[in-house]
């Protein structure tokens, strides 16, 4: 359903042949053009050569690791990078995001999860030039241009800070946004560490926009990383 007219090229960098095979099957069935690299340096070469629309990058690779590839790529490559990580290596994940990776999927992942991330990233990348003025998620409508939020047609009053946070998350709908990114966007670069304050504001925000604030469906927490605005 999400396959664009011109098939998006997706480069998969993973050292495990079985994972590459599974991804090939998942991606090509959906009309994406999948190309593969089995190690970091080959991944860099292929990115330069084919200029893919998205890179799926495994973090745990022998030789040149995923973090090195990510750092190297971000010196010139602007399209989204989706990181594959294993559970328990949160530090690597956060480092990768700080280095400019756009999102991550934890192994083992389901095909649906991976496809949702891929779609979200490609959508965001294609719409980067003209950001969508109104973002809809279920009953929730976030109107960036008019700075208004409605749920089921009903206006919700938000403070300036709360709206900024929500806008930041919604503009990256379905993609992870690190706490640091939100803090820097809303408060400024020097506030990047104050996650406690952010958590307090998020909880206020949830009380206003979530139908069940203790069981959020719009603003999801990514433990240890940040938040994700969920549209589905």
């Amino acid at each position: 359903m999400g396959a664009p007219k011109r098939p998006a090229t997706i480069l998969v960098v993973d050292d495990e042949p079985q994972i590459r095979r599974a991804l090939k099957s998942i991606l090509s069935t959906r009309g994406y053009k999948a190309i593969f690299a089995s190690d970091g340096s080959q991944g860099l070469a292929l990115t330069m050569d084919q200029n893919p629309d998205l890179v799926v990058l495994d973090l745990a690779m022998p030789g040149m690791g995923g973090l090195d590839v990510c750092r190297e790529l971000r010196t010139w490559y602007t399209a989204p990078i989706l990181v594959l990580s294993v559970r328990g290596s949160d530090a690597d994940k956060i480092t990768a995001l700080d280095m400019g990776a756009d999102d991550y999927v934890t192994k083992p992942f389901s095909a649906g999860e991976l496809l949702a991330r891929v779609r979200a990233l490609l959508r965001r990348a294609s719409g980067q030039a003209t950001p969508c003025p109104v973002i809809t998620a279920g009953e929730l409508e976030v109107d960036i241009a008019q700075r208004r939020v409605r749920r089921a047609g009903e206006e919700i009053e938000l403070t300036r800070i709360e709206f900024e946070i929500l806008a930041c998350l919604a503009q990256n709908a379905d993609c992870v946004v690190t706490s640091k990114m939100v803090l820097e966007k809303v408060w400024g670069p020097e506030y990047g560490e104050d996650t406690q304050t952010l958590r307090v504001h998020i909880s206020h925000l949830r009380r206003k926009i979530e139908p069940h604030p203790s069981l959020p469906r719009y603003i999801l927490t990514e433990p240890g990383v940040g938040f994700r605005f969920c549209t589905s």
């Binding site: 495990e16 994972i19 294993v86 389901s110 095909a111 649906g112 991976l114």
Partner: protein, 526 residues
Amino acid sequence: MRRGPRTVERYGYLIAAVSVVAATALFSPGRAHFAKGQWALLYLLVVGLVAGISGVRPAMAAAVLSFFAWNYYFLPPYGTLRVADPRDWLSLVVFLVVGVAIGVQTGKLRDREAEAKARGHEAELLNRFSARLVSDISVDEMAKQLVAEVAEITGAGSTALFLCSDSSEPPRCVASRGTDCARSSAVAELVTWAREQAKAIGLPAVPRGIQPQTDGWPVTASHREAGIGAGRRDMYLPLQTATRQFGVLYVGEREDGSAHTFHEARLAVALAYQASVLLERTQLRSVEVQADALREADRLKSTLLSAVSHELKTPLASLEATFTNLLEQDTPLDESSVRPELQAVKQDLDRLNRSIDSLLDLSRLEASAWGPQLDWHELGDIVGAALSELPEPERTRVSAALPPELPAIHVDFGQWARALEHLLRNALAYSGSGSPVRVGASSTPTEVRLWVEDQGPGVALDERERVFAKFYRGSSAAAVSSGTGLGLAITREIIRFHGGRIWVEDVTPHGARFVISIPREPSAKD
């Protein structure tokens, strides 16, 4: 040497008296032949001799005795202390002054020489002891030598070394000599006191003219403290360094019942210091060894964890991705697209199975819970069984050429097939795809050899032992993504278990050959 100075000291005055009496007896027959003043010179000679043998004080005594003897026997009127010629009084006074002066000077020289000799002896003893300490002796050996050495130096009737393994326990006797002091409760009590207070008991007073601190005297010495030390003839010397306490050296009273001299005590203290240094070194080393072992265990644990998580999770991740893909609404489910998916699933399951097998094998090996079933088997059967475990396309790369007259070997069939399978998979993985892998065998009257050789890059010299270590993956492993790093470790354990050996050697022009050698007579460990 040890006895000499002490004997002379005690009998110094006797020697002085005997010398003067003997000289007088020798001189008196010749009284008529010499002038009365010349005898004074001979007496001065006697004073000098006494000074040389017995030191200053006996020499002075000899001078005084000679004064009287000369007066009595050689100055008229003979046989009385009266003096007829008033000039003789002058001679007598001069004689006394010169005699005492000679005695003092010669005695001092003699004392200095004796002192130098004693210091030399001390230095020699210390050197000898420290030489033994650096020759890396055990604590028990050191304790024995320490008590023996101290007993010899001090002449103590009994010596003992008490050590405590940790600070909460009372010190325990590890070596003793002479009468059984180790069981005396009085000794034990003072040993405990000395250790707790970290102070020596019973050290003799420091003689005048000696700087205790600069001479290695224990600064903490407190033999007068708490009334414990007063009048003691034995010593309790704590063994300690700046940071640690090890125990107490007990030095009993001298065999002849006299108190220890300062110099003896100082030597004993110096030896105790050296023993403390050895003990500290030993403790530090054992701490270091423990830390090393812990580090290694830690490293193994974390490598095990990462190997397990990688080897089990990768096929699981692949399975999850494949299955969830099949479950997605928009995935076509016709035969031509499902079949390759199922083949991939089969491969993942095989890999998962192998990883779990390897981990189980390893834990069984480590728990020595193999329970081998030894029997006589043909090598060809084992090779065949190992080959059948390999996936089809890989199997065609392997060629086996076994000589016809190979003897049967007495082994566990399943384990050997597994060991060989590990070697084959290893060779297949580490040599280029498509390059051949050969299995060969040979036999001598004493052993049977089986080898697997590939045409890969080979194993570097410095890795030939390490490739068999658990979780070690060769430097070329980056090119080979899968593998627990356990295969060769398991193989070696299996081969060792059967009393065989395994090693790796070079193949010309390039490649590695893993050779297993097993004796023809069964010698499996029970």
